[in-house]
Amino acid sequence: MESTPFTPELEQLELPLKVKLESFEGPLDLLLFLIKKSEIDIYDIPIAVITQQYLEYLEMMKNLNLDVAGEFLLMAATLLHIKSKMLLPTREEEGEGEKEEEDPRAELMRRLLEYQRFKEAALELTKGPMLDREVFIRNFFGEKPLEGGEEDLSGEASLFELLEAMKKVLQGLPPEDFQEISVEHLNIKDKILQIMERLWEVESVAFPELFTSSTSRREVVLTFLALLELLRLRMIRVYQAESFGTIRIFSPVEREEGRKTIEERIM
């Protein structure tokens, strides 16, 4: 889906800002993330806990004005449905009920396991020597170098890890009195350039460092949205050495080329 990254409304930074999330993870990723984060047994998911956490993330995404896909809402409904089913007392066996009633969580569990299996398979695929990553072939005249040689993605942070990190930044901010409307309105493009210039300067920046100068919630959110947009354009990569560790941001793009991309893709 060719989304124009920034619509004119967005330029003026009048909320609602919308960052398209489609190139990011989906609801199943969020669930797997929560399961991993809380070290939950996927075969015995405490639905009430997970539902609550899931809804919290959904709320956060909505507050950020991220364009939360319908699938996220559908999953929320599914979770609530399962939760309500779990609350009902299991009916006593009556007559020919030879089939035991299935655990309401079974279907969700099956989907999560299946999905996880493909995620693992994807990782497995990239483990061997890949073209233009470990091995190379001769370049024939006029032939563009093959694209698709991937870097190691195993340490790449997901959207939800970024949200988690941002939550921490927000929590560390002093409570805001009345929102001061700053006169100099930074827009997303400025913020994007600011982030990129810094990355070209120092090569890599830890996630919290990006926010040290941010004083308002608004600026934190703006920085975050700028990061998402940069991720979407694949101008930055976010890595996490260990699960739930510090996220570091790199740029695989050279300064000159990057500036051009920003000029072209972001009005």
């Binding site: 889906m1 060719e2 993870e25 999905y115 091995v135 093959l146 698709g148 040689g149």
Partner: protein, 215 residues
């Protein structure tokens, strides 16, 4: 021709080929049966391995190709200043689903991923890692996707049977071609074919009732 001479010719053929050279093509050119070719090639591969050259013959994508050795990657990257455009995690897992579940329609992929996959599929088509292999004979005639030859080249697979086995393989039997109609004219959508804007639009629109005339 003597065997040594044959090997030299084969070496030349592989050397000048832009994509992995198949046994069929070698047979066409040399008029030698595949079993002999296979034997000669195995010997040649062994010779390269033994002499520890900077490149060797690899069997990938159902053909043979000269490739550098993984141990030398750092120097080569420095020379070529390669910038690898990595696939995103969603793209990679979609690719895995296509690889293991092919022939597969978008709806099946979305059922597994639980999220709209039109954009990711488009990216994969653009990168030529997947291709459209037909249309499914069900209402709406959805496009059927499979992995391309380039997919095998990039991931260094001889053929699809070399895909790493999925953990807990149940339910992932061999691909079935049931209900797949080939596109009119063989290879109507070539692997290398440029994606036309209208086709792109079609891929983005699940509601597109009759994609037929847009191809």
């Amino acid at each position: 021709m003597e065997e040594a001479q044959l090997k030299a010719v084969l070496e030349g053929l592989i050397f000048v080929s832009e994509s992995p050279l198949t046994l069929d093509r070698m047979k066409e050119v040399l008029g030698i049966n595949k079993r002999d070719l296979q034997r000669l090639l195995s010997e040649m591969m062994e010779e390269y391995r033994k002499s520890e050259r900077g490149f060797h013959i690899m069997e990938v994508a159902e053909g043979f190709q000269f490739r550098t050795r993984p141990e030398h990657a750092d120097w080569i990257k420095k020379l070529k200043r390669v910038k690898t455009t990595a696939l995103s995690q969603p793209a990679l897992e979609t690719l895995a689903i296509v690889a293991y579940r092919q022939p597969v329609v978008r709806m099946d992929i979305e059922k597994i991923r639980g999220v709209d996959s039109g954009g990711v599929l488009h990216t994969l088509l653009e990168k030529k890692l997947i291709k459209i292999i037909g249309k499914k004979d069900v209402p709406g005639k959805p496009l059927v996707y499979g992995t391309s030859r380039k997919f095998m080249e990039v991931f260094g697979l001889k053929d699809l049977s070399q895909l790493p086995t999925l953990k807990d393989l149940e339910g992932l039997g061999p691909p079935s071609a049931e209900g797949i109609m080939p596109l009119e004219g063989e290879g109507a959508v070539e692997e290398g074919a440029k994606i036309e804007p209208n086709q792109e639009a079609m891929i983005d629109e699940p509601s597109s009732e009759d994609p037929e005339d847009t191809i």
